[in-house]
């Protein structure tokens, strides 16, 4: 209807066709919805809705196939990079992405993540790092900050017994198969624009068969951090960003 009310030259914002009309189940203030939105916008803008296959494993975004208006496969917890490998190897001409949480990508799926990237699988990995297990109710994640409280680190993460927060993104950037590695956020308009640009770049590289592109999105989890959305974004800036600094981590040399 909006199309009828607003003249094309005045239109600044429009619903993307690469998302369905389904109401998302994400909590108020959660970054998942925005991350979905920009990925979907890029897919639509590139005109590749009919050539894209996404993989969402278990985590808060397990139902991503209800929201993305592209063909999707739901994967077991941690296995998305392997599933995406299977898809990309039989459909090299398609655009393939995974959309994974930190528990999924950096704990149970570490092996699948590292090896898919080490093979240089020509896929996009979107990694949403909220420092916690969102879906299962706020348990400690590999990326949970030192001292940060969660339901399985009720007195704060103690590095002596629980290890240190894993900088998986820096780790995988070392791999020759990783072509473009960047860390972004989606809590402010400026960040949303940058993150969207990064996703666009990644999918353009995929078209050129360049290897794995990895876009981390440092995000929040108001429900499990037990904060309001505004508080959670502030906390993220003050605590997550110093440990997980935003910006490109590996940029293509031939660029």
């Amino acid at each position: 209807m909006s199309e009828n009310l607003i003249k094309p030259e005045n239109l600044v914002y429009q619903k993307t066709e690469a998302l369905t009309d389904r109401v998302m189940h994400y909590c108020p203030g959660c970054g998942h919805g925005t991350a979905h939105r920009i990925l979907a916008e890029v897919i639509q803008e590139m005109g590749i809705m009919d050539q894209t296959i996404g993989v969402a494993p278990v985590g808060c975004s397990v139902l991503a196939y209800y929201y993305f208006n592209v063909d999707m496969q739901e994967a077991a917890h941690g296995r998305a990079p392997a599933v995406a490998t299977g898809i990309k190897r039989v459909f090299p001409e398609k655009f393939v992405f995974t959309y994974q949480g930190d528990g999924d990508l950096a704990a149970i799926g570490t092996a699948e993540t590292i090896h898919a990237i080490n093979r240089g699988e020509n896929i996009l990995i979107v990694f949403v790092n909220n420092g916690i297990y969102g879906m299962t109710g706020g348990q400690m994640a590999p990326t949970t900050l030192v001292g940060m409280k969660s339901s399985t680190s009720p007195f704060g993460r103690d590095t002596k017994t629980m290890g240190s927060p894993l900088k998986i993104t820096e780790l995988i950037a070392q791999l020759p198969g990783a072509y473009f590695v960047t860390r972004q956020a989606v809590h402010k308009p400026g960040n949303v624009r940058k993150a969207k640009k990064a996703i666009r770049k990644a999918l353009e590289y995929q078209k050129l068969d360049k290897g794995t592109c990895f876009v981390e999105i440092v995000s929040n989890c108001p429900s499990n951090w037990k904060m309001t959305p505004v508080q959670s974004n502030k906390w993220m800036e003050e605590n997550m960003f110093p440990y997980y600094p935003l910006g490109d981590i590996k940029v293509p040399e031939d660029n």
Partner: protein, 349 residues
Amino acid sequence: MKGNEALAEAAIRAGADAYFGYPITPQSEVIEYLMANKPEDRTGMVVLQAESEIAAINMVYGAAGCGKKAMTSSSSPGMSLKQEGISYIAGAELPCLLVNVVRGGPGLGTIQPSQSDYFQSVKGGGHGDYKLIVLAPATVQESVDYVKLGFELAFKYRNPVMIQSDGIIGQMMEKVELFEQMPRVEPNYEWATLGKKTDQPATFITSLQLQAEEQEKVNHRLQAKYREIEKNEVMFEKINCDDAEYLFTAFGSCARITRKAMEMARAKGIKVGLLRPQTLYPFPVDEFNKLADQVKGILCVEMNAGQMVEDVRLSVNGKTRVEHFGRYGGMIPNPDEILNALEQKIIGG
């Protein structure tokens, strides 16, 4: 040809699109043969050595979800690792071919042949109520033929199919007739993720239902499919059963040894036949039931501590005596001890 290599060649010829695997004795020849024979050049088939069996089965999931003919092979410890993925594949109703060249267990066990994964293959193996179609070759020829049949059944029912062989069949050399190269086919299934069609809703592959009512519906659908498979796909071989007073039953390589014991018994005047299930699921329940009216006892010979014997007992439902004889942990029974077991446990028992 060597069993494992013949099976690998059959995969190429069956028009398989993709193989994903991880080395483990006694089946590593499957991926070695595939790598050496360049199926990518011959048919465009993809072969990839994964970082683990877990990764391999999930690659199968991804490729199968695209409607492609995908397969993996392994041996017992590796098959245990694949169970999570197999359960997801069964739940998402994807077709694929799995090969288990069984070795002795539990644990790391032994690399010698065994049939101790019968329960794992036939009763589900992973979590949830599901069934694999399980084919049990007794010869290299059957390993080859079951690759083709396995893919056919997998796509007919959108269900994972397992070829369960063992270290004997995988490693032995036999004459084999290979079928002609079949073409690879471009998938065109409405359930597969092929890229969204402009005028149609997107497709998704999942094994998740948040509502119990919906998950029960999925289970009803699966069960209806399994009943259909039980009705249509039972396969077995019967030897010397017409006049049999006693019955041997065994599957796979063990059936060949048992056949020798049957011949020795016949030479001694003991009227014994052999029923060899070729499908372990669906199980030849009706055939056992019929023979149970005729024979005075059944000896189930297995290279395990007694697994298929449970299905034999369930099939005959007390109508006749059923005993088990097994060697396990990688040991292979010899015909003398099988005949002896028949005389002791069934005829004299």
